[in-house]
Assembly symmetry: C2
Homo-oligomer: 189 residues x 2
């Protein structure tokens, strides 16, 4: 069975495709932007976005949104992580964290799925880690080089390693488990 993932981000698609393989689900990549609202919660953002994009493309699909919430910065950059990455980048975050002792941060992920005419279903997960003092590693994307869990940044891990620990990996797994259950029911199980 094939499942449509709507994202413009190739790195994200690759990460998620590897997890989908574990569940024997084939991902179809719909490379398009969808409408994102400004909200404090990623769940609200994907709920709105997946309903709209599902209406546009007319078939079941899912989206995923993630953000880095730094405790000492009151949750900055949070839902606007992509914009912060494209403007101030990892260097900007490290500058904001200069002389800040509390390095705790959370990467959060929300996944939204919708079928035409149906209501969105949302799954989320998070992982707590620390903001490093320097970027490390060349894997991953976005803020991965400055976020470490158990002494390794996400950019120092292979995609499979990151998927085991990451917010996105956890949220996607919750979603895919649910999706497989739903599909079985549809097939008369």
């Amino acid at each position: 069975m094939a499942l449509t993932f709507v994202t413009t981000n190739e790195n994200k698609f690759r990460e998620v495709a590897i997890i989908a393989e574990e569940y024997e689900i084939e991902l179809e990549w719909e490379k398009r932007a969808y409408m994102e609202i400004q909200a404090d919660s990623l769940e609200d953002i994907v709920r709105f976005g997946v309903r709209e994009v599902c209406r546009e493309i007319g078939r079941p699909c899912f989206i995923e949104d993630a953000g880095l919430f730094i405790y000492a910065l009151r949750g900055f950059p949070g839902p606007y992580s992509k914009f912060a990455f494209l403007t101030i980048g990892n260097r900007g975050i490290l500058k904001l964290m200069e002389n800040v002792e509390n390095r705790l941060a959370e990467f959060r992920s929300a996944v939204g799925f919708c079928s035409p005419g149906g209501e969105p279903v949302v799954f989320s997960a998070s992982v707590v880690g620390r903001i490093t003092y320097e970027p490390r590693g060349t894997g991953g994307f976005g803020f991965d080089p400055i976020f470490e869990v158990d002494g390794k940044t996400f950019a120092e891990m292979s995609t499979r390693e990151k998927n085991l620990l990451s917010h996105r990996g956890a949220a996607i797994r919750k979603f895919l488990l649910w999706f497989k259950g739903e599909s079985r029911q549809d097939m008369g199980g």
Copy 2:
């Protein structure tokens, strides 16, 4: 004639009410949040938002959105200025600007007006200034204490003084001039 301004921000309402007085327009304050989309352009944000909120309240109304676009930070915090203010604040911006020579920044404002059943009309304006090295002044709100024009920060100016120079003042004036013209036409002029 009374005109409805939708905003949750009391400071913003007060600034705009003073300008409306000059045009002999009475402002009615509709204190409610409206849906904001994530977009690079304030114009797109107000166009979408005013259409939605006008549908909700069922009468002509306008909204205003503003942002601080810092050249050396590639336009950060831009459309997400409110979130950046509430999280990293003026201190965060000044930290990001430590050892940055190019202090140029732009405050931008977009005003959106809509009547039930009509298309939104959008007006915008901007003012170029500099990011200070320290916050100065107690007036205004948001990033006003760190944005200076002609040697004075917006927070060091009276509301009337700020309105003469500011992005918001300019965009609101454009809108009100247009609105008065439209109103005259409606009355058969």
